[in-house]
Symmetry: C2
Subunit: 544 residues, 2 copies
C-alpha cells in the first residue's frame, strides 16, 4: 500500500507532462486498416471515443456505475432459456440431497429428460468416430505397431487422410475461420450425396455446435427491435434467447397441434402481415425440421410451400436441420430445404437459405464435442464476407468438433473394416429410440387428460395436459405457471426432469411439457410406472 | 409446383378458418417460466410480438427486405478484425500462386507471422496433454494391454481420474454450463497454487478459448453506445471488435512506447474524465498482461495502481492473462490481478475482477482445441446468475477443451512418469521462444528507422517504423495506410505475413507492425536475412 501512494505521486507528475500530448494526439482520427475497408464503400467508422482535454476539477467526484441487475444490459436480463432453467437447478439440489441421504426418497436417481443429451443418459458413442478422434489427438501413435491392435484399419486410414487435409498436419493450430478446407470438402460431398445437388465447401461454416451459427445469423440480420424473426411456437428456446440477446422481435407463428403440429402457410402469412402492420420488418423465417419440441417431420409438399413463401416474401429461410438423422416412422423422410428448393428449380438468386447441422444430435449424440456447421446459399459475396468476418473474430471452431462434423457426414461405407460394427451401433441406437418414442407416446396417451402427438422425429415428446382447475389454482397460489407446477411435482415425486411447455411457448391457456425419449431402454418400464403413478395421484389430488 | 398451387388453395381455406382463432389467442400474453423469473423482480417481459387481426388487403404489396450491406446490422459492418484481415487474404492467394507455379517467387513458402498460432508453424504439442486427450476420446482402450505400451502410466491414471470427475463418465455429453465441476476443482487448485490465495470452482466459467468469455462480459456490461470500455492502445483487436459488435464505445488509453509501453494511471484518469465529459459511462478497464501486441510485462507496483484505480472508480477489471506462461526475461514475473488485489487486502466486496485464460497460448499453444476459462470474482449472486444464464444458452464449451484447460493448470509433477519429458518439452519451447524473441528484436533494431521494444512476454514484437515521406505518399496513392503498404510490400517480397499496426490502433502519425516470434528457430536466420534485405531495398526505393 505504501508503494502505491509513492507511485501515485510519481504519476501525478507524469500526468501533467502527458496531458497536453495525449490531447493533441486524440484530436486526430485513427486511420484504420481492415478487411472491411477494402470490401465496400459503406464502412461506417468504428465508435472510438475521441477524447479532448477536460477540466481536471471534474475528476474528484466521478464514480463508475457498479454492476447490478439495474445496470447490466437489459437484453441479457430479458433473455430466457428454460432448458437449463429453474427446474434443472431444483433437480441438481435433489441429486445432492440423494447423494447425502440415500434412501430419503422413493427413487434413487434423477432422470434428466429435460435436454437432448443422449450420452448423459448412457448412450455410447459410435466407436469409429471416437477412434478417429483419439488418433487425431495423438498422431504420435499412428505408426506404432500396438496401434494396429487397438484401432480399426479404416480409422487409422481415415486419421491419415484427415492429417493430409490439415495444413501442417497441425490439429493444435487455429484453422481457417470457416473450418479446415479439406474437412469442408468432405462435408460438401456428404451434402451432395444426401441431396443429389451440388454443395460448395465455401458455403460451409464450421461452428462449435449449431448454437453459435444461429447467434451469428441473428447478429447479422437484427438491427433493432423493428427487425422481426418468424419463429414457430412452440420453439426451441435458443431462438427466443438469441433474438432477445440481439435486440430483435420474435414474430410467432403457431404450429397446429390438432393436425400433428402442422405448419400452415396461412398462419405464416397472417403473422407476417400482422407484424408489418406493427412496423416490424420481418427478415427471416425459422423452421425446425424435424421439430423441436414437437417431433413432427414436415412433408415435402409443405416444405415447397415454405420455400415459395420465403422466396416471395424475401425472407431468409433459417432451417434448423439438426435432427435430420432422427426419424422414427416409415412414412416420413428427411428432405433438406436446399434439396427441396433446388428440386423446385430455385437457385442462388432465388432464395437465401441457411441450414444448421450439429454433431450433438442424430444417432451420434456427441453433445460434448461441440461440432456443427451451417451451409449458407443465396447471399451476395459482400454479405458473405461480413459473415466470414464475424467468424474470424472468434478465430475458428474447435478442431475435434470440425473433424467429427466431417465424420458424421462421411461415415464408414460398405466394405470398410468398421462398416458392420458402425452400422450395428447406429441401427441399435435409432431402432431403440424409435421403440422408446412409441412406448412413451403410448404411455402418455393412456394418462387421464393427456394427449401426445406422434413422435415422428427428433428426440422429444410434447404432450398436452388438461389440468384440473384446482391444480391451476394451486399453481397460482405457488406463484408459478400450471405446467411448471406439474413439472416440479413430477420431479419431487419421481426424480424425472421435464421442461414445462411455457419454456417453449404454447397457445395461451394450453399446458404441455417436453420430455426426451433418451433414457436407456431398460429404464423405460420403470419410468412409465413412476410417471403413471404420479399422474394418477396428481389428478386424484386436484380433481375438480 | 402443381402440388404447391393445390396446397395453397387448401391453405387459403384453412386460413379463413384459423384467422379468428389465432387472433383471440394472441391477445393474451404468454406466461413464461424461466430461471430468471425466480431470480428477481425486475424481469422485463421478452419482446414478443402480440399480433392482431390485420386487413388482408395489405397483404399483397408486402415484400421483405433483401439482405444487403445496407440492411444488415451496422455493428457487424463496423466491426474490424485485422489479424485475419486483407493481408491474410493476400497471403493465401500468394500461397495458392506458389503451389501452382513453384519457383515463381524468390521464396518458396508463406510465413504466417500475423497470428499467435504456434502449431501452425511447427511447434509440437506437449505429449502428456495429447495422451490424456486421446484416452478421454476413446476410453474403450483404457483397460487394454497395448495401451500400456503406447501411453505413459500417468496419462492413463490421469484419464481415469478425469473420468471419475465427469458425471456418467460421458465425454460426449453436454456438461454443466460453467464446465465440468471436477475439472473446475482442478483449475481452482491450480490457481491457488499459482497465487497463494483461495480460488472457488464456482467462480470458473470454462469457455471455447478466451474469446467467447470476452464477448460474454461485453454483452453483460454494454447497454448502449453510452457505455464505454477503457482499452489499451495498441490493443488486441478482439476487444475493439467485441465492443463494436455489442454497440458500446471504446475509450482508448495509450500505452507509452517511450517507457516500454508503460501503463500510466494519469493517462487512465485523463481518459476516464474525458469520456465522462462526453456523457460516456465507463464500465470496465481492459488490461492485457503480458501485453498483446506490445509484449510488455507489468510490474507488480503498476498492477497495484491499476487495482486501486478500478476499486476507486468502480470499474470492472477485465484482465487478459492468457500469456501468463510466456515471459522471457529474468527480471519480470507474472502476477495475476487477483493475487495482486488479494495481497493489497482487497476481497470480493472491493473489486469486480475477471481473469481470462486460454489453452491457445503459453508453452502449450493449443489454439485448435479452443479451451479456456474466466475466473470472476466480486460480482453479486444476482449478476452471477445472469452470467450463468448467458453461458447456458450455448449449453457448454467443448469437453476436450475443458479437459485441456484443467491439464494446463495441473501439469505433471516431479515424480510422475511423464514429468521429465514434459518438463523438457516445455523448457525447450519457452527457452527457444526467448532466444527467438531476442534475435528478432535485435534484428529489427538494427534496421534503419526501426525501433523495437524489449519482448518481455507474450508472442509478439511490435516495432515502430519511421517511414520516409515518399513511402507515405506512395501508400496514399495506393489508397492504403502506410504501415499496411509496408506490410504488403514485405509479403510480396519475402512471403512474411505481419499485421499493420493500424489494425491494433496506435498513436496517430506513428507506424508499426506486429510480428510473432513463432517461426521455428532454424528458420529465424533466413527470416532475418529476408527481412533485412527487404527493408534495405524498401528504404533505398523510398528514401527522401
Amino acid at each position: 500500500m505504501r508503494r502505491f501512494v509513492a507511485d501515485v505521486s510519481r504519476n501525478l507528475t507524469t500526468q501533467r507532462r502527458r496531458n497536453s500530448a495525449t490531447c493533441v494526439l486524440q484530436h486526430s482520427t485513427c486511420s484504420l486498416f481492415s478487411s472491411s475497408q477494402s470490401q465496400s464503400s459503406v464502412v461506417i467508422p468504428v465508435r472510438f471515443l475521441n477524447t479532448t482535454s477536460v477540466d481536471p476539477s471534474m475528476a474528484s467526484d466521478y464514480s463508475g456505475t457498479p454492476v447490478t441487475l439495474d445496470t447490466i444490459n437489459p437484453k441479457v436480463l430479458n433473455c430466457e432459456y428454460a432448458v437449463r432453467g429453474e427446474i434443472v437447478t431444483l433437480a441438481q439440489n435433489l441429486q445432492q440431497e440423494l447423494k447425502e441421504n440415500p434412501g430419503s426418497r422413493t427413487f434413487d436417481e434423477i432422470l434428466y429428460c429435460n435436454i437432448g443429451n443422449p450420452q448423459s443418459l448412457g448412450q455410447q458413442p459410435i466407436t469409429f468416430f471416437r477412434e478417429v478422434l483419439a488418433l487425431c489427438d495423438h498422431p504420435a501413435i499412428l505408426d506404432r505397431a500396438e496401434t494396429q491392435g487397438l484401432f480399426s484399419a479404416d480409422s487409422i486410414e481415415r486419421a491419415f487422410q484427415i492429417f493430409d487435409q490439415i495444413p501442417g498436419r497441425a490439429t493444435g493450430a487455429y484453422s481457417h475461420s470457416q473450418g479446415i478446407k479439406g474437412l469442408r470438402d468432405t462435408i460438401a460431398s456428404g451434402i451432395e450425396a444426401r441431396d443429389g445437388y451440388p454443395a460448395d465447401p465455401n458455403d460451409i461454416f464450421l461452428t462449435d455446435g449449431a448454437s453459435p451459427a444461429v447467434h451469428m445469423m441473428m447478429q447479422l440480420l437484427i438491427r433493432s427491435e423493428k427487425d422481426g424473426i418468424l419463429c414457430p411456437i412452440p420453439q426451441y428456446p435458443l431462438y427466443s434467447a438469441s433474438i432477445t440477446l440481439h435486440g430483435g422481435t420474435l414474430v410467432p407463428y403457431y404450429l397446429d397441434e390438432a393436425t400433428g403440429w402442422g405448419l400452415e402457410i396461412s398462419e405464416l402469412k397472417n403473422q407476417l402481415e400482422a407484424a408489418k402492420s406493427k412496423g416490424i420488418s420481418v427478415r427471416a423465417l425459422v423452421v425446425i425440421n424435424p421439430g423441436n419440441p414437437t417431433g413432427q417431420v414436415l412433408s415435402e409438399s409443405n416444405q415447397q410451400e415454405i420455400v415459395e413463401f420465403c422466396k416471395k416474401e424475401k425472407l431468409v429461410l433459417l432451417a434448423d436441420e439438426v435432427y435430420q438423422e432422427n426419424i422414427y416412422v416409415p412414412d416420413k423422410q428427411f428432405h433438406s430445404f436446399k434439396k427441396v428448393s433446388r428440386t423446385m428449380g430455385y437457385g442462388e438468386k432465388d432464395i437465401s437459405l441457411v441450414s444448421f447441422q450439429s454433431v450433438s444430435k442424430g444417432y451420434y449424440g456427441e453433445c460434448g464435442k461441440r461440432g456443427g456447421y451451417m451451409e449458407i446459399t443465396g447471399f451476395s459475396p459482400e454479405v458473405r464476407e461480413q459473415i466470414y468476418k464475424m467468424a474470424s473474430v472468434n478465430l475458428c471452431s474447435n478442431i475435434s468438433g470440425q473433424i467429427l462434423a466431417s465424420l458424421v457426414m462421411s461415415p464408414p461405407k460398405v466394405g470398410d473394416e468398421s462398416y458392420e460394427s458402425y452400422f450395428a451401433e447406429k441401427d441399435a441406437i435409432l431402432s431403440s429410440l424409435a421403440r422408446r418414442a412409441k412406448t412413451l407416446e403410448a404411455a402418455l396417451n393412456s394418462l387421464e387428460g393427456v394427449t401426445c402427438n406422434r413422435a415422428e422425429g427428433a428426440m422429444y415428446l410434447f404432450p398436452r395436459i388438461e389440468l384440473p382447475k384446482k391444480a391451476i389454482e394451486a399453481a397460482k397460489a405457488a406463484n408459478t405457471a400450471p405446467d411448471a407446477f406439474y413439472a416440479r411435482r413430477l420431479l419431487d415425486a419421481t426424480g424425472i426432469v421435464v421442461v414445462p411447455g411455457s419454456g417453449f411457448r404454447q397457445v395461451p391457456g394450453t399446458w404441455h411439457f417436453r420430455c426426451t425419449i433418451l433414457p436407456q431402454e431398460d429404464r423405460i418400464p420403470a419410468i412409465v410406472t413412476r410417471l403413471t403413478e404420479f399422474h394418477k395421484g396428481f389428478m386424484d389430488e386436484f380433481r375438480d
